[in-house]
Amino acid sequence: MPENRNSPAASSSKITEGEADLYLDQYNFTTTAAIVGSVDHKIFVLLRDGRMLFGILRTFDQYANLILQHCVERIYFTEENKYAETDRGVFMVRGENVVMLGEVDIDKEDKPLEAMERISFDEATAIKQQRDEARFKMETRKGKQLAQYGLIHDFHKSDIY
């Protein structure tokens, strides 16, 4: 088998990771198929409500419904140099709520966190909620002002990412 590696039979039965990458690079996937290369890799997902999830992508479908294993949720306060995290286990995310996702380099992932102070997750959620509410108020005000000029300010409470 190994000698006729390029024959269709051989490539369909078993392909190496390098070959898979080569194959994937040849196509410009614009749909959900683009994340097929991230399966079984650690990824980061941003949800529409502003949550950040880190976990290993196990499977996905055409709606970008995701299964994340060993999932961790993090909240960052970059200005204060603080962060919080909590374990979430196995997560199934409904595709609609995904803003973006991408692979994480596990070797470099923890570097920025070392320079940051870790606070308790409950504390962080409380702060985040406060800020989200403040932001919501601000955006509503902005929306009203813009409306006076006949302009639309597209903002929704559930889109707080």
């Binding site: 949800l47 409500d49 196990r58 499977t59 996905f60 479908d61 419904n65 995701l66 299964i67 294993q69 979430r88 286990g89 196995v90 997560f91 199934m92 995310v93 409904r94 709520n97 559930s158």
Partner: protein
């Protein structure tokens, strides 16, 4: 293994669901469909203002933000998959291979009342077919299957073409 497939195989497990509006529902999954609509039993519905205990709930898939599943779910589903493949499926697949694609033709030949004129081998084949076809129905599934069986035993008519195809 698609996400929804994993979910359908998680029936009976307890899970926590967060809705788009931030409320959470925790309960035992009883059913799922292709739109991720769920039915849950023994539910705790938590909203900012109140906590409700409900025996049963129907949830439109549309309204789900995420589901927190049990940690061992992936392993469990994988295992039950392997088991299914080694047991149930095997017999069926074997059966189909033995019958090949010939059954269809045999039946059509015999339809014209020319059964007697056929050489013994053909007839024998057909008999084998009929018997195993009965077996397949005994495995029992669709209403259609039941109908065909009845049809055959009473009048010895060949099966309609639509039933024979896979």
């Amino acid at each position: 293994m698609l996400p929804l497939y994993l979910l359908t195989n998680a029936k009976g497990q307890r899970m926590l669901i967060e809705l788009k509006n931030g409320e959470t529902i925790e309960g035992q999954l009883t059913n799922v469909d292709n739109w991720m609509n769920l039915t849950l039993a023994n539910v705790t519905h938590t909203s900012p203002n109140e906590i409700l205990q409900l025996p049963e709930i129907y949830l439109r898939g549309n309204f789900i933000k995420y589901i927190k599943l049990q940690d061992d779910i992936i392993e469990k589903v994988k295992q039950s998959n392997v088991q299914q493949q080694s047991q149930g499926h095997h017999q069926n697949r074997d059966f189909r291979r033995r019958q090949g694609g010939r059954r269809d033709n045999d039946r059509r030949f015999n339809q014209g009342g020319g059964q007697r004129r056929h050489e013994g081998r053909g007839n024998y084949n057909n008999g084998g077919n009929r018997r195993s076809y009965g077996n397949r129905q005994a495995e029992g599934n669709t209403a259609m299957g039941g109908f065909v069986q009845h049809h055959q035993t009473t009048s010895q008519q060949p099966t309609p073409l639509g039933q024979v195809q896979y």
